[in-house]
């Protein structure tokens, strides 16, 4: 019985959201308000139990991890911005967060998104690895390597604004913009696929799980 009630509520809310495609209406507004309210409540409760109780309270009072008090104090200082007169204090924990995260990200991004990506772009064009003999790579791989090397180069040329985009340089920039557009197109295609998948999931819920019309 509880499951049936859940299905009916789910169907009611799903159709409420979809009804916006026709036009804005009270059913949609009600559903949207329920969604926003439940999301906010859920996140508040989840983070309260996970962070304040699970990490801080149990950590300090059960396990004796007193270093967590430093984080708690910084957290409290962050709330000082609610009082305009002493709001400046909140900049201290904020600077700590910005500094720590910058340091962490600098290393991660430089290693994963710069060094390793550059390395994988500078591949031998006609062989699988640097020490392999020439032309041992498959035709598909050679084309792929050429496309990546050419695409990266022309893409970079497009973003080089210190020289006017004219002549051979302009031609390379034009190829670069085509490569960028193809990338955006592929990304858009994937986005359409993703959004359609969500719609498919909801429609399957309505016609399959709720109405039981799918065999």
């Amino acid at each position: 019985m509880e499951q049936q009630i859940g299905l009916w509520v789910g169907a009611f809310l799903t159709m409420g959201i979809i009804s916006f495609l026709y036009k804005d209406n009270p059913w949609y507004k009600l559903t949207e308000a329920i969604f926003v309210g439940i999301s906010a409540g859920y996140w508040f409760v989840a983070l309260f139990w996970d962070n304040i109780v699970g990490k801080f309270w149990i950590g300090v009072f059960d396990r004796g991890d007193y270093y967590l008090l430093v984080g708690a104090v910084l957290g409290l200082l962050m709330l000082m911005r609610l009082a305009p007169k002493i709001g400046w204090i909140s900049r201290w924990p904020l600077s700590f967060v910005v500094g720590a995260i910058s340091g962490f990200y600098l290393l991660n991004y430089f290693s994963s998104n710069v060094m390793l990506q550059v390395q994988s772009t500078i591949m031998p064009l006609f062989s699988p690895q640097f020490n392999d003999p020439l032309f041992t790579s498959s035709a598909g791989n050679i084309i792929s390597n050429l496309f990546i090397a050419g695409g990266t180069f022309t893409g970079l040329v497009y973003f080089f604004f210190s020289k006017e985009h004219k002549g051979a340089f302009g031609g390379a920039a034009k190829i670069g913009i085509w490569v960028i557009m193809i990338t955006f197109g592929a990304s858009f295609g994937y986005t359409v696929m993703s959004r359609m998948s969500l719609l498919i999931g909801r429609m399957y819920f309505i016609f399959g799980e709720w109405l039981n019309l799918i065999g």
Binding site: I58, F104, N108, M203
Partner: protein, 333 residues
């Protein structure tokens, strides 16, 4: 207002008819399916011709066609050939290369809205792991991730194929639950997993779980699979667990996120990638377990054809509109 109430009443009536009157599933045979496909194609062609002649359709027509393209394939008996791509094959091969008893860490970094894409991947991956007798350690950087993992595991364990398997919680698989802290959780896990997960999803202490009792950090994990719908997700796992700690990892992503992951795949930072519903269907094909991913792909393909058709129609409308605007006043018909 009266019109709105009437529309609501109509939707309610249709829902009640669907729920109480139609008790048998609707199945359209191959002939009926083909007739419907041809009819839809003809109507789309008619819309294109109308557009070329200067009569444009409204956005609600587009919505209706997309809805038809998504819903109708559920009732049709149409099969779609699925070709397994190298990145999916790579993930499958990596799992198949693991010895029975190997420990696989699966992080569920998504919530119910992304379930249509990622849940089929999770189920297929669990099925393959159970079949191969791999030990599964579940966790999540998103609060609802471990619940999704639980659902996937229960679905698989209910399947007839695994009825004979005595798959036990604690020794064969564990669910460590959610941990807040995003990529810093991964960073700490690199040092000591137990420092981030004192208890599992059900409150059992980490050290009381036989499967993970002796697992200190990533060096004790043989393979990792990340299901991600955004931040924190596969990118963070690659940056910290793979590049810093050398964990071998495959990923399953929503289609929106997949293009972002391909550079990592090419650079060898990822061992296999499942991108969107397509990736889920391909993984089902390679594992030989046809499920929702394969089924949903027919709807996916139909809707893509409709979207492409409307892109063509939209472009026709745009360029014809441009042409008309460029014509001098006197020349317009």
């Amino acid at each position: 207002m009266l019109k709105q109430i009437l529309v609501y009443a109509l939707i309610l009536a249709l829902s009640l008819i669907g729920y109480f009157v139609i008790t048998e599933p609707i199945i359209l045979g191959p002939t009926a399916s083909m007739v419907i496909i041809i009819l839809i194609a003809l109507v789309l062609l008619y819309i294109l011709v109308r557009t070329i002649m200067g009569s444009f359709v409204g956005r609600r027509t587009v919505f209706t066609f997309v809805a038809i393209a998504v819903i109708l394939p559920f009732f049709m008996t149409v099969d779609q050939p699925i070709k397994v791509s190298p990145e999916v094959q790579q993930l499958y091969d990596a799992v198949m290369a693991l010895r029975p008893g190997s420990k696989v860490l699966v992080s569920f970094d998504y919530d119910p809205p992304s379930a249509p894409e990622l849940q089929p991947m999770a189920e297929s991956f669990f099925a393959l792991c159970i079949e191969r007798d791999l030990k599964i350690i579940i966790m999540g950087l998103w609060p609802q991730g471990p619940q999704q993992a639980d659902l996937a595991m229960q679905t698989i364990l209910r399947e007839e194929a695994f009825a004979g398997k005595s798959w036990k919680y604690g020794t064969d698989y564990v669910n460590l639950g959610f941990q807040s802290g995003n990529e810093f959780v991964i960073q700490r896990m690199g040092g000591e997993i137990g420092s981030m997960f004192h208890n599992d999803f059900y409150g059992t202490p980490y050290d009381s779980l036989p499967l993970v009792r002796n697992i200190k950090n990533f060096s004790n994990i043989d393979f990792s699979f990340n299901l991600s719908a955004g931040y924190p997700g596969s990118v963070e796992w690659v940056q910290v667990a793979v590049d810093r700690y050398g964990l071998k990892m495959g990923a399953g992503n929503t289609a929106v996120q997949a293009p972002q992951m391909y550079p990592y795949l090419r650079a060898g930072q990822l061992t296999g990638l499942l991108g969107g519903l397509n990736g889920a269907a391909e993984f089902e094909k390679v594992t030989g377990r046809k499920a929702k991913g394969t089924r949903f792909m027919v709807s996916q393909s139909f809707s893509h054809v409709v979207v492409i058709a409307f892109i063509i129609i939209g472009n026709a409308a745009f360029f014809l509109g441009e042409k008309r605007r460029k014509k001098p006043e006197g020349e317009t018909s």
